[in-house]
């Protein structure tokens, strides 16, 4: 899984039927020190997150498992909201 911040949403009307009702969010990947890394990614939301929230997401086929038994075509899905990060040497 990876850290990220929700920075936007995507609206799409014509899409795969299994994507109907799913929220498409734009996420900026982050390092553990919360600096940006890489480019933004569009992903689904399995937990209900809000704009600007610090989240972690899952990559690959596993990212469609929260929606079982529906077979949702996604490659990245938000699976949790981050409350806190404890880094070595920072306590």
């Amino acid at each position: 899984m990876f850290l990220g911040r929700v920075v936007g949403t995507v609206v799409s009307t014509m899409k795969d039927a299994a994507l109907k009702g799913q929220r498409l969010l734009i996420v900026q990947p982050l390092k553990p020190d919360l600096t940006e890394t890489g480019k933004c990614i569009v992903m689904l939301d399995a937990v209900g997150v809000g704009p600007g929230e610090l989240i972690y997401w899952c990559r690959g086929k596993e990212s469609s498992f929260p929606f079982l038994p529906a077979e949702v075509p996604t490659d990245n899905t938000i699976v949790g909201v981050v409350d806190n990060i404890h880094l070595e040497g920072s306590r």
Binding site: M1, F2, L3, P29, K31, P32, T37, G38, A46, V47, G48, V49, Y56, C58, R59, G60, K61, E62, S63, F65, P66, L68, T77, V79, G80, V81, V82, D83, N84, I85, H86, L87, E88, S90
Partner: protein, 99 residues
């Protein structure tokens, strides 16, 4: 599998139900010379590893979710071992790739 260093822990209350009761670690993948290999990632703990440990990291879903005992759940990385020692035969590799 990758060699990685556990650098922290992640706390989350609002998350997928399959993640409940599992410790989420922040791990930094390493090269053989101990330098960073890309950005740190979040992995679930299958072996009771902790901050400061050098560990084995799987980065593929099936191995990750079975090792933490949560099949068919959105888990793509897991810590599956704590490394005691690494023995390298440096002379077995050409100088250019000794990293």
């Amino acid at each position: 599998m990758l060699i990685a260093h556990v650098i922290g822990e992640l706390i989350s209350t609002h998350k997928h139900e399959s993640h409940a009761g599992r410790k989420a670690l922040i791990v930094q993948p390493l090269d053989l010379d101990g330098s960073k290999r890309g950005d740190a990632v979040i992995a679930f703990d299958a072996v009771d590893a902790g901050v400061g440990d050098r560990v084995l990291l799987v980065t593929e879903g099936f191995s990750a979710m079975t090792s933490v005992g949560r099949p068919e759940s959105p888990i793509d990385m897991a810590v599956v071992g704590v490394i005691d020692r690494i023995d390298l035969d440096l002379l077995a590799r050409p100088p250019a790739s000794r990293k």
